[in-house]
Structures are given as structure tokens and as C-alpha cells.
Amino acid sequence: MTRTLASIMALMVTGTALAAKPREAKLGKPAPAFTLNDQDGRPVSLAGLKGKWVVLEWVNADCPVWAGCAREGTMAKLAEQFAPQGVVWLGINTTHYATLETNRKTRADFNLSYAVLDDHEGKVGRAYGAKTTPHLYIVDPKGRLVYRGAINSGDDETKVNYIEQGLTELLAGKPCSVPETKPYGCSVKYKK
């Protein structure tokens, strides 16, 4: 770096950044790779799902917001609705105290047909920047992240289900009209 360029850059940095954020998975870029065990101890890898649309859903049965959505069957219904079109739905549990048994129980208690993967170490959650339960991501068949955020727009009357809308558009060959929203729910309970 030349002296002139360095001094220009020094002038640009006029203050102290407060709370710099680590880099997170970016939209349009490859979704972070992972291999995690499902509730029966079988490894599931994102790489192995190349060629398919994948939905990742951060779960936690101890979170009243996630549990409320799950009790209504919001996610399970969507998973079933889009399964015939080859969409793979995966739950990921980053709760630091969750075990395979926790994930088996969550599936049973909430009638989930999809796998729940064990991420209690928190590596995958951190790579994706998962903030809440629920927090949802859509990965395209080329392995790129095309949606991240909330499952829906909340409890307002004009409630939009972003996953249903997004998958419908994407499967029809259109771009996702709302590629990002703010997720809502309890914080993901990461390991310290």
C-alpha cells in the first residue's frame, strides 16, 4: 500500500467502531457448509443436498415463540406442502443444553416430520448468524443463500408467510421478492 493511499485511509477512519459484527453468511453467496447429526445420530450434510432446495429452521422447544408457531403447525404444514417438490426441510437446534434426546422429544411433541439437527456447540448457528427461534433460511439447489429471516410478518392482519411466498416464487423460476426480513422470537441460546 502506498503512503498516499494509507494516509487517505487513515483519514477515513475518524472514530472507533462500536460493536463490530463478525461476518455472517451473505445472500446470494454459498451458504456455510455443515455436517450435523440428526436426532438419531445420523450425519446430515448440506453438501449432500446440492441440487435440492433446502429450508433451515432454527428451533427450540423451550422458546414460547417457537413452540407457539410449532403448535399451530405453521412449519410442519409448509414442510409437507413443499416436500413433493423436493424441498428438504431441516430443523437445527443450537440450544447449548439440547441433546439428541431433546431433539427426538421435540419432534414427537410437535409432530415434526423433518429432522432436527444437533448444533449445541453453536458452530453452525454462528456461521449463519442465527439470532432467534424461529429463524429461517432458504438455500437454492446451487447451495446459495436466497432468503433469511422470519417465518412470517407476525400477528398483523395482513400476515405474509415469507417462506411460503418465497418457495412458491423460487420454484416457479422467479427471484425471491422479499429476500430478507428481521427474524423474531427468543434469542438462540448459544454456548458461552
Partner: protein, 261 residues
């Protein structure tokens, strides 16, 4: 279910007066108390959590002002998650008054309140509260409570008594703006900046060091996928004063909509 899920948050609607004298203002408040170690959330909970919500339904002939939110604390949790709220207790309060012509015998105030409280796990709750105040000669009640929360809100920077005046300049279209804080006394040290309105987000906050004119740059944008139609966004600037005590300022940012008028 997690064993801590049985935790209960107590919610009450109260006033600083035993009775209502028409034409004489008083204070109403919603008090939320959680057990030790739990926290409640601000109007903008941050990256996770749910905002405390309280909708007040006053009786006829009564005017109430918008809730006054105390200055929140910032909580940082594992996974680099930032949220804003209150440790254990929150009093949302507002000035209220009954019209001097009113002849009712009593006044019933109702409030619908909902919250999330978290410790290692989170619980949600809601309550329908009511408070009946008779008309008549007022006697002060709950004074200590209302007095202890009276000065806990961030000071509006436009207020003549504010420790700093503020002006701001937008830089380009991506929400970048420069905030200039002109401190009347010793400059405060800015700790964080967040919008009181959760429909907006603040990123890339950079604070200049010391000096009577504090320069803060930040990016203020609507939450992704939204286009809120508001005239202004109140930004809360958290700073520590010369004694190291945490304090807050509110700076109201007019949105582009307003500027285009």
C-alpha cells in the same frame, strides 16, 4: 417444558393518586416485576426478544399522553446478540388528566399488556388490567415508585435542559448519517445508539473520541423487507457521563418522507 417456565411476572396498573379531581393531572403507570435474574424488553427489543406492549384504554373525558419509556440497558448474550431492556422491573408511565367539566362518579382505566421475560430461557405473558379511581379529593399514593422512575427516561436533545444539543446530516441514500452532539458540559462517552422504533435498525455506529462536539456516524434504515411510513425515528444515544453513570439522549431523526414535503 423447562423448569423455569413456571416463572411469573407480576403486572399492575396503578396511579399516583387515590382519586381523580377533574382538571388536575396525575400519573398512570403499568408496573411489571419479574423475579431476580430475569429481564424484560424495551419498545425495541433488539435482535431477539419481544417488546413489552401496553395499550391503555382511558374512560370518557380522560386524556392520556404516550407512555414514557425508561432508558433501557443493553444486554449482550452469547452468539453476539444485542438486546435492550430492563433488569427485573419496568414502570411505563404517562401523565393523565380528566376534563374539568367531568361529572362521573368514578373512572375505570384498562390496559392490555404483553411481555417477554428471559433468564436462561424465555417466557411470555399477558394481562388485562383495570384500575378504578373514584372522583373526589385526591391523596397521593405510590409516590416513591413514581418518583424513582420519574427521571429515568432519555432526555430529548431538543429540550433546553438537555446536556447536549444534536443535529444530524444524512450522507447519501444508504441511510448513513452523521450525528453531531454539542455537549454543554463535559462530553459524554457514547456507548451505543438504537432506534426506539423496532421497525428500524441502526448499524455501523462509529463514535469520535472526546471533545465538546461528539461526532457519531451510523446507518439508520428500515428493517429489511419493510417500508414504514413514519415522519420521524427517535434514536436513543446511550452515553456515560463524567461520573461514569449511564445516561441517555433521544435525537429525533426526520425521515426522507418528511424531507420531501
Amino acid at each position: 417444558m423447562h423448569p423455569l417456565a413456571a416463572v411469573v411476572v407480576a403486572a399492575t396498573l396503578l396511579a399516583d393518586t387515590s382519586a381523580v379531581t377533574p382538571g388536575r393531572p396525575f400519573r398512570l403507570g403499568v408496573k411489571l416485576t419479574a423475579p431476580e435474574g430475569w429481564h424484560l424488553y424495551w419498545s425495541n427489543p433488539g435482535e431477539s426478544g419481544l417488546p413489552t406492549k401496553a395499550t391503555l384504554v382511558p374512560p370518557p373525558d380522560t386524556a392520556v399522553r404516550p407512555w414514557i419509556w425508561p432508558m433501557p440497558k443493553r444486554f449482550l448474550s452469547p452468539g453476539d446478540l444485542t438486546s435492550y431492556g430492563y433488569e427485573r422491573e419496568l414502570l411505563l408511565w404517562c401523565p393523565a388528566g380528566v376534563g374539568p367539566e367531568s361529572r362521573a362518579g368514578s373512572y375505570t382505566f384498562r390496559a392490555e399488556v404483553s411481555w417477554m421475560a428471559c433468564r436462561e430461557v424465555c417466557v411470555t405473558g399477558k394481562a388485562s388490567l383495570a384500575l378504578v379511581l373514584p372522583a373526589g379529593a385526591a391523596r397521593p399514593v405510590n409516590q416513591e415508585l413514581f418518583e424513582s422512575w420519574k427521571d429515568s427516561a432519555p432526555v430529548d436533545a431538543a429540550d433546553s435542559l438537555s446536556p447536549a444539543s444534536a443535529n444530524w446530516t444524512p450522507r447519501g441514500r444508504s441511510g448513513l448519517l452523521t450525528l453531531k452532539l454539542r455537549w454543554s458540559g463535559r462530553a459524554g462517552r457514547v456507548a451505543w445508539v438504537a432506534p426506539a422504533d423496532p421497525r428500524f435498525r441502526v448499524d455501523d455506529v462509529t463514535a469520535g473520541d472526546g471533545g465538546p462536539i461528539g461526532r457519531v456516524t451510523l446507518r439508520l434504515r428500515p428493517q429489511p423487507g419493510t417500508n414504514p411510513d413514519v415522519a420521524e425515528v427517535p434514536l436513543v444515544v446511550a452515553y456515560t457521563d463524567q461520573r461514569g453513570a449511564p445516561r441517555g439522549l433521544t435525537v429525533r431523526i426526520r425521515t426522507r418522507r418528511q424531507e420531501e414535503r
